[in-house]
Amino acid sequence: MIEFDRVTVRVDADAGAPSGIDGQRTLLHDLTLSLQEPRIAIIGANGSGKSTLLKLINGLVLPTSGTVTSAGLDTRRRGRDVRRRVGFIFTDPLSQLVMPTGREDVELSLRGRIKRPAERRTAAENVLRRFGIADLADRSIYDLSGGERQLLAIAVVAAVEPSILVADEPTTLLDLRNENRIRETLRGVADQLVFTTHNLSFALDSERCLVVDGGRVAFDGAPTDAVDFYRSLCAA
């Protein structure tokens, strides 16, 4: 369960960029939402505010005003606890993986939970096996394909069993085969999945879909209606 209560996000405007109040640019305007569905898609143009909205969910971005509550916790007051419950998948898995090999990265995720190195190693192997990438455990992350890296990035986040998974365009860099594999994998990782995408067929694979435009939720409803609305918005 995720709640946005009158959330506004403003940042200092870059030189030359259009600015509003006191040289600031508003990324999201007065957003009030309650997200309960198991799979929620967010679509919209580049720069519309989709990623900012996602980053609010696990406290990577804090609201300038208003409150965001994820898994029952205020992201401003309980940021660390929120991040333990809300996993985040980046578009580019290389941004997410911080260790040289997959095994080490999954072990890094587990350090806070499992103190004994041998147990941690076994748990990491189990996670990699669960995602069908045990054979990649000791390969350099640079030697993996895009699909393998994204699978590993999901495994790394799933290792800590988040209740909510947030994914920022997780299939953008992938071919069709890997995209299907990632979409299938994302289904079972957490109780709730919130994702942004430019792939409208992926957006249809949800229970609810938001269309974000100019920092506002321009449409909120059934995915088929949302996709139709977005198409008409782009055509206008």
Partner: protein, 214 residues
């Protein structure tokens, strides 16, 4: 983006004697060898040190000779300049001792990094860094910072090669600006992304309970 972990001596999985040896023993032997050659500063011991470190890597860690050569390759220009300076300023033997000792220390350190998984190394650093708790420091965070530093080296080496190729493709291989500026920008962007990734995963954060009323 290309990665160059092996060129820079990061962990290579294996089942050699050194892979199975405990971390403390490898660190002790590496430090002891380095300390002896640096303290003695005599050509005979420098030669022994070089042979010992090379044998440690080739026989003890079963590192192929070609790979061993590749791991020291990036060092050779610096050692070459240093050797030329010492030959001119101090003579042949001091030049051999200075450059040989540096190479011995690097090879000795690589016996540890090549044969120890990152997490085991991290556990070791966290163990050694326990005293920082006395001054309010966090050993986990200290170890994590060191791991990220090691992980960053191959990334930056890969970035350097990518940028060089891009400059060549544009016919700008002689332009220092076209080669250096993108590497610096990539490094800053990489640091920013890594910080965001760590924050998103809740890594390196304080373990003390949060005050919900704060």
């Amino acid at each position: 983006m290309r990665g160059h972990g092996n060129l820079l001596g990061l962990y290579v999985p294996g089942r050699s004697v050194l892979h199975r040896a405990p971390l403390w023993l490898k660190v002790f032997m590496s430090l002891a060898l380095s300390a002896v050659v640096l303290a003695a500063r005599v050509p005979e011991l420098t030669a022994v040190g070089l042979v010992a470190a090379s044998l440690g890597l080739t026989l003890g860690a079963r590192t192929p000779a070609a790979q061993l050569f590749r791991t020291v390759l990036p060092l050779l220009p610096v050692l070459g300049v240093l050797a030329v300076y010492h030959v001119i300023a101090n003579g042949l033997l001091p030049a051999f001792v200075t450059t040989g000792n540096i190479l011995t220390c690097v090879l000795a350190a690589r016996t540890v990094t090549l044969t120890t998984p990152g997490q085991e190394l991290l556990d070791g650093v966290v163990f050694v860094a326990r005293p920082v708790r006395v001054v309010g420091g966090d050993p986990e965070r200290f170890g994590l910072a060191l791991s990220i530093l090691l992980r960053s080296i191959p990334y930056l080496a890969g970035s350097l090669l990518d940028v060089r190729d891009a400059a060549r493709a544009r016919g700008l291989e002689r332009s220092v600006r076209a080669s250096v500026v993108p590497v610096v920008i990539n490094a800053v962007a990489y640091a920013h992304r890594t910080g965001e990734a760590l924050a998103a995963r809740g890594l390196g954060e304080d373990d003390r309970p949060e005050d919900p009323g704060a």
